[in-house]
Symmetry: C2
Subunit: 298 residues, 2 copies
């Protein structure tokens, strides 16, 4: 399949620069977004605007969606003037949003009924990764469809992995968020404890980072955490949403998540205490609230 025109629905913080990278790589891009401003930016860069998801699908070979959550993806695909209404046989819908693996499986079925194929391809790597084309892309769906879209993915990401059938990309993203949260909360509990026990927080981080406790959070977030700096980064409210996807999927598949369910509750507290726009490492503040004490270097 030679993809020439890529449809793109959802030109936000992530989708906007991803669509720009596709334009730069020589693809024609037809875009749609809830607000017009992002579409105008796309047009200024050489892309074209469309008035509905249906029109995007009608004018494209591959339709990419990059949207906030499961209900929005459902609406954009299945709703009035939605992607489904504009699909033709042999087309591919690539959902790069982070949504539920089970919703993804249902959407893939609906798309298959139109003779088209779906890939779920959620991303990690943040706004910077989207701009620089260095995202990690976790893909679920038919392997041959994945191979057809590989070139497209390699424009947007530097780590592209096929993880299994439809839903497996979302499952992998959920696994990523489970392990990230485990680290964030574990490091938070360790640092608050170390502070209350009278240890030197910088020395603790230095001493344990090189061994079996070594992790991305200790290397990249702990130095800020002990200064009380929680600028994002990755919003705590997104971490919360993603853990909700994980624990809901755990319900659906019967997968036990005793530790992740605790992390989920702690990120819920980030929302309820008005800290959703802090970095996800800011969950340390919830442990501090529980301790009645802050863990900071002097």
């Amino acid at each position: 399949m030679a993809t020439e025109t890529v449809g793109f629905v959802g030109l936000g913080i992530m989708g906007g620069p991803m669509a720009e990278n596709l334009l730069d790589a020589g693809y024609d891009v037809v875009g749609h977004n809830r607000s017009d401003e992002s579409v105008e930016e796309l047009e200024a860069s050489g892309g074209e605007g469309a008035t509905s998801p249906k029109e995007v699908a009608e004018r494209s070979d591959v339709v990419i969606t990059c949207l906030p959550d499961s209900p929005v993806v459902e609406e954009i695909v299945r709703g009035d003037e939605g992607v489904l209404d504009g699909l033709e046989e042999g087309m591919v819908v690539v959902d790069m949003s982070t949504i539920s693996p089970t919703v993804t499986e249902d959407l893939a079925e609906a798309i298959a009924e139109r003779g088209a194929a779906m890939l779920d391809a959620p991303i990690s790597g943040g706004e910077e990764g989207a701009i620089e084309g260095t995202l990690s892309i976790m893909v679920g769906g038919d392997e041959s469809v994945f191979e057809d879209c590989r070139e497209l993915f390699e424009v947007m990401g530097s780590t592209v992995t096929h993880c299994g059938p439809n839903g497996a990309g979302q499952t992998t993203k959920a696994c990523n968020q489970i392990v990230v949260a485990a680290q964030m909360v574990g490091v938070s509990e360790a640092l608050v404890f170390a502070h209350q026990a009278g240890a030197d927080l910088e020395a603790v981080v230095e001493a344990i980072s090189g061994g079996a406790a070594g992790c991305w959070t200790l290397d990249n977030r702990a130095p800020n955490m002990i200064q009380g700096q929680f600028d994002p980064g990755f919003f705590a409210s997104y971490q919360y949403k993603d853990l909700r996807i994980a624990t809901d999927a755990g319900e659906a598949f019967g997968s036990p998540m005793p530790q992740t369910s605790v992390a989920h509750e702690l990120y819920k507290a980030m929302e309820t205490t008005g800290r959703g726009r802090d970095d996800n490492s800011g969950v340390m503040q919830i442990i501090e609230d529980l301790a009645g004490d802050e863990a900071r270097v002097d």
Copy 2:
């Protein structure tokens, strides 16, 4: 202080090779152990044996203890014919066991009453690190006493960090074990979920290892975990004991550990199900028990 004779109580899997490394570096070593066999090995390598901890202290400048748990360290230091009975003013006791930070603080006081000083200096890096002299050593106690002993530490370890006052070494070790357990359990929950959701486990590990979920457990244990290989490594029963130290210290200092307390319970289940001698990554089996399913590559 020029240390010439080092006393060593506890010539086990860790203490044995550590004492050998001190001999190789030119120190005189006087050793004591519950079983005579290890003392005979030390003598064969050029060390000398002593019949009690008291005698070790009487014949040494610095006394190192490397013992299984808090009660044994208490007994060796405070008991009949114990280290305290043989101490002279100006000597140093270095406890390299992994024990409670609060027990450590009490011992440091008792030792100070004799005019001697104590350092807590627990280690990580396993038997291999002990043999090769590449341990990570986390030290609590007076900074000038730490500096006096630095050469000694650098014979046994490659990462030597002063973490604060007496107890801070144990606190740091507990922090290490908190973060290790968070990773081990988080990766376990993620992999069991991924298997049940139908994803390719090897692809999941590959896809998430390079980003914000990246950690020692994913790099060094996940490939074995998805094969069901849980040979130690680091015994699950030691991880359990160390998490108990952490949660007990959390009680003492008022430090909240909602996530770590879950990990503690899961490692307790490793004991109750007869898996204490598996690697600590074997905690995945507890999640599998809860799921009624095993997460293995085909």
